[in-house]
């Protein structure tokens, strides 16, 4: 073999060693050198040499190539110091060496009989592989049909050689093995390798115990007595089950070797049995141990939370980002801020803010001098902006804590709805003249409040925000949807912009003297106006009671009404004087407390079916995946994301969405009508809104299979909807 070296050198000198992405491809062929008469010198070899590895194809057929006789081929890899290649389970990184054989008919190659590897730590990771020289032997099976004087073996091998850096390399090898004579030049290497290859043992009582924990318990029985009491190395053949680099425990319990090995946090295999190799220096054994117990719940099952599933399905029809048909698309923070400002401005015209408008008008007329007016205007602005910031911070905080919430989330809570109803009742009774706050509140507090119009204005700002929050005005929807995805500071700036927008008209009015001059002089008309304004307050209460009815049923709404009556009684009792006051107050408070105890819990008790209205006019309930199903049938879908507490939603529902022409168009285009109800908290709906880039209701979407969903304006006009439908 030695005489061939210079020729090999000449051949290998031409090999390009690429230290890059392209695998090194090296070809060595020595078949032409197998001259007649020389074949008895032993196996022909084929060598590929790179800067890191010398790879040589070897054969061992001591009794010739015949059926039933041992015939082995193998790739010997000799590594430069520090470099290594990999075992069949390469550990945390790396790749096992691959051998692809091309063999003549009648010859079959078996699997690589992998020699015992060693553990190669790399920083915090660990690999299983080989350094120095390793032979990867493969048995060949010879069928009786095989004929010929030479067995031509061709091999394409690919290996990854690593130090810290890794280089994938490939080589093509060819070898001619004489059939009728002995090929035994590499006998020693093959014999040494066979000796170092793990010896299979029966599983017997061996097992791998899998619990719910983060480790597995291995017990191997039937290991030779010579190993007992010794510390063994462990190599699992199945990859991605354990953490190769993690610390583990082992112990002998009599003749049984046990180990507790940490599971990989990102385990991708759940085998029914685990072939394990244990080694003591050069002696190794392999046991295919059955797995007892069940693997910790397959992570895949819990992967998609229902909310996500719903959200994603809602968008599945196209997979593309939703298109805005009206309003502003959420482009960048600046656009979001502008949209928010505009939205806040329009918020003043929303039906739910109307009662606040009334309070403000009354308050505004009472202020006489310009300086105070400006101060109150500013105080009102600060009140509004701070309240929006507070609500925004609360929303973001709760979302960060994992709650599925969106804008208007306060009103999804029946307790908050009930409290707001109580607040509005109180305001209504006050405006109607049943009581003055001064008679109820402790004297000092009332006096302080009256003397501080600034504080008053600030508080009215807070109140205005509380009432306005459930209404998402046009332009605001996109901004808020965008805001919740932003870093906290930027998101809060969007909330602040809404507040500024909402306060601007009052601020402007308070700053411009001309506005004050236009307003009528204070006079007796104010009392009449004040009493008149009590009615929007009570109307709001009626609405809130209805909202609560959607959330907690007729029992909840009834309980709320009863408690509101009792609250009014308590307040009335406090307006009395003398003994009557003491007696009646005590009586009414007792009655109120009893009522609260008796029927109060009804208010927050959820009803099993939280339907805001029976399915009517062809509307069906939205469900996660429903849009997907309909789209799969090629049907277009209109979804109305709504909530009972959203006045804008209710307005659109009663007008545009009940419009005969719109409904006729929907029918003509065979559009399925779905209504997603967000009256109570519903993570599925929240997620579906998020998928559309929204975070509040109303949202109107048209899905058409194969097209991005189209989001319509919050102020839904008949013409808009019909125009959009015409495009289907």
């Amino acid at each position: 073999m030695d005489f061939k070296r210079p020729l090999f050198a000449a051949l290998t000198a031409t090999f390009l060693i690429a230290f890059g992405a392209m695998p090194t491809v090296a070809v060595a062929q020595n078949t032409p050198l197998n001259l007649p008469g020389k074949s008895s010198r032993g196996a022909a070899a084929s060598v590929v040499t790179t800067d890191q590895v010398r790879a040589e194809l070897l054969a061992w057929a001591p009794e010739g190539v015949e059926p039933g006789k041992p015939v082995w081929v193998g790739l010997a890899l000799t590594h430069q110091p520090e470099w290594h290649t990999y075992w069949k389970n390469s550990g945390d990184s790396g790749l096992p060496t691959q051998l692809d054989w091309q063999l003549p008919a009648g010859i079959d190659a078996g699997e690589i009989a992998w020699p015992t590897p060693k553990k190669i730590p790399i920083g915090t990771l660990a690999n299983y592989g080989y350094e120095k020289t390793v032979l990867l032997p493969v048995p060949l099976t010879v069928a009786p049909s095989f004929a010929g004087n030479q067995l031509e073996v061709k091999l394409k091998a690919a290996w990854l050689v690593c130090r810290k850096e890794c280089i994938p390399q490939e080589g093509e090898f060819a070898l001619s093995i004489p059939v009728r004579s002995s090929t035994a030049a590499s006998s020693q290497l093959f014999q040494d390798t066979f000796a170092a290859t793990p010896k299979p043992l029966a599983a017997g009582a061996s097992q791998v115990e899998v619990g719910g924990g983060k480790s597995i318990k291995i017990s191997l029985a039937g290991l030779p007595a010579a190993l007992q009491g010794k510390t063994l190395a462990l190599y699992p053949e199945t990859g991605s089950v354990i953490e190769p680099a993690a610390a583990w425990q082992q112990a002998w319990q009599g003749a049984v070797w046990t180990a507790e090995v940490p599971l990989s946090g990102q385990r991708s295999e759940s085998p029914a049995s685990m072939p394990l190799v244990v080694a003591l220096e050069n002696v190794a054994y392999r046991i295919d141990a059955p797995v007892k117990g069940s693997w910790p719940a397959p992570a895949a099952a819990a992967v998609v939370p229902p909310a996500l599933e719903a959200a994603l399905r809602a968008n599945a029809a196209t997979g593309a980002a939703p298109v805005q048909a009206g309003g502003t698309p959420p482009v960048g923070l600046l656009a979001a801020l502008l949209g928010a400002l505009l939205g806040g401005l329009v918020l003043n015209l929303m039906p739910c803010v109307f009662p606040v408008l009334a309070i403000k008008v009354v308050g505004f007329v009472q202020v006489k001098d310009a300086a105070t007016r400006l101060t109150t205007g500013l105080a009102y602005t600060v009140g509004v902006v701070l309240s929006f910031l507070a609500l925004g911070a609360l929303l973001l905080g709760l979302r960060a804590a994992g709650e599925q919430l969106g804008w208007g989330f306060q009103l999804q809570n029946p307790a908050v709805v009930a409290l707001m109803a109580a607040l509005f009742t109180l305001l209504g009774l006050n405006l109607a003249g049943l009581f003055e706050f001064g008679n109820i509140l402790p004297g000092r507090l009332a006096g302080w409040q009256a003397k501080n119009p600034t504080v008053n204005a600030f508080l009215s700002g807070v109140l205005a925000t509380a009432i306005a929050s459930p209404c998402t005005a046009p332009f605001m929807g996109a901004s808020l949807g965008y805001a919740v995805g932003l870093p906290a500071l930027q998101a809060l700036s969007v909330f602040a912009a809404i507040g500024v927008g909402m306060a601007i008209p009052y601020l402007a009015a308070s700053a411009i003297p001309a506005v004050a001059r236009v307003l009528p002089r204070p006079g007796p008309w104010m009392l009449t106006f004040k009493q008149l304004m009590a009615f929007p307050m009570f109307a709001t209460v009626a609405w809130l009671v209805w909202v609560l009815g959607q959330q907690s049923g007729v029992d909840g709404a009834g309980a709320l009404l009863a408690l509101l009556v009792l609250m009014a009684l308590v307040i009335w009792a406090f307006t009395l004087r003398g003994t009557a006051r003491t007696l009646l107050a005590a009586f009414s408070i007792t009655l109120g407390a009893l009522g609260l105890w008796a029927v109060g819990p009804n208010i927050t008790r959820p009803v099993a079916v939280a339907s805001a209205a029976p399915a009517a006019g062809g509307w069906q309930a939205w469900e996660p995946g429903r849009v997907d199903q309909l789209a799969a049938q090629g049907q277009s879908v209109f979804v109305d994301f709504t909530a009972a507490w959203c006045v804008t939603c209710q307005y659109n529902k009663k007008t545009t969405l009940a419009n005969a022409a719109v409904l006729a168009d929907m029918q003509a285009k065979n559009v399925a009508l779905l209504r997603a109800d967000w009256t109570r908290r519903d993570p599925a709906v929240t997620a579906a809104l998020a998928q559309l880039g929204r975070n509040g209701v109303p949202v109107y979407v048209i899905y058409k299979p194969g097209r991005a969903p189209v989001v319509l304006s919050e102020i839904l006009s008949v013409d808009d909807v019909r125009a959009e439908l015409a495009k289907l």
């Binding site: 992570a299 809602a314 609360l394 805001a612």
Partner: protein
């Protein structure tokens, strides 16, 4: 209209009302502590890292969006295999569909493979890669948090912040570009399924590639 029972447990509602009643500045207390290491099906741990342009990114910034984490190292042949076009087309396809794609380089500054931010950005630009951002993680903290072992090592995080996928980029562990054609791309499959609202058929696989060149544990 909806006939689903609202999924509001009494406990969450009580917490909710409590939080609502509490002053908003207490809301920060509601931020939950994060778990230690990433596991599929669990909450993906939050992190913050600076990108090649010096901008700080927090995972929590991207709540509401699908997020892909891609461990990268231009010095690694497996990374270069996939940057022959495969990785770029994935980045382009899915960032266009609203997915946030964060390439993370956890190579320690002392490694021969280390690229300074400007050079890494230059490499990414030269390769016409289109991740949403390329993050520097010389300390290896983000990598250790996610148990990233190889480059590439891929993760998909749900809009709710759950780890949906951890593992290799595809089904054929090799350094050969030719294998990309025949391999099942688990990231494309996973993202497509997630965007389609389906559970991931493969939620974890063996990541293959070069080891991440982590800073040695101090």
């Amino acid at each position: 209209m909806s006939n689903r029972t609202p999924a509001v447990s009494p406990l969450t509602r009580r917490q909710f009302s409590g939080a609502l009643a509490a002053a908003p500045w207490l809301a920060s207390a509601a931020f939950s502590a994060q778990a230690a290491t990433a596991a599929v099906g669990q909450a993906a741990p939050d992190f913050s890292a600076v990108d090649t342009a010096g901008k700080t990114h927090r995972l929590s910034d991207y709540k509401g969006k699908l997020v892909v984490l891609e461990w990268t190292n231009p010095g690694c042949p497996f990374v270069r295999k996939h940057y022959s076009g495969n990785m770029q087309s994935l980045q382009k396809e899915f960032t266009a569909r609203g997915v946030v794609w964060l390439a993370v380089n956890s190579t320690e500054a002392g490694s021969g493979d280390y690229l300074a931010p400007a050079k890494l950005a230059g490499w990414m630009a030269e390769k016409q890669g289109q991740p949403s951002a390329t993050l520097m993680d010389e300390s290896g903290q983000v990598g250790q948090l996610y148990g990233a072992k190889t480059t590439p090592h891929m993760y998909i995080i749900s809009p709710q912040g759950q780890l949906l996928y951890a593992g290799g980029i595809d089904s054929i562990p090799s350094a050969r570009v030719d294998d990309i054609k025949t391999a099942t791309n688990y990231v494309r499959q996973g993202l497509t399924q997630a965007l389609g609202g389906k559970p991931l058929s493969v939620a974890s696989s063996r990541a293959y590639g070069c080891s991440v060149k982590y800073k040695d544990a101090a």
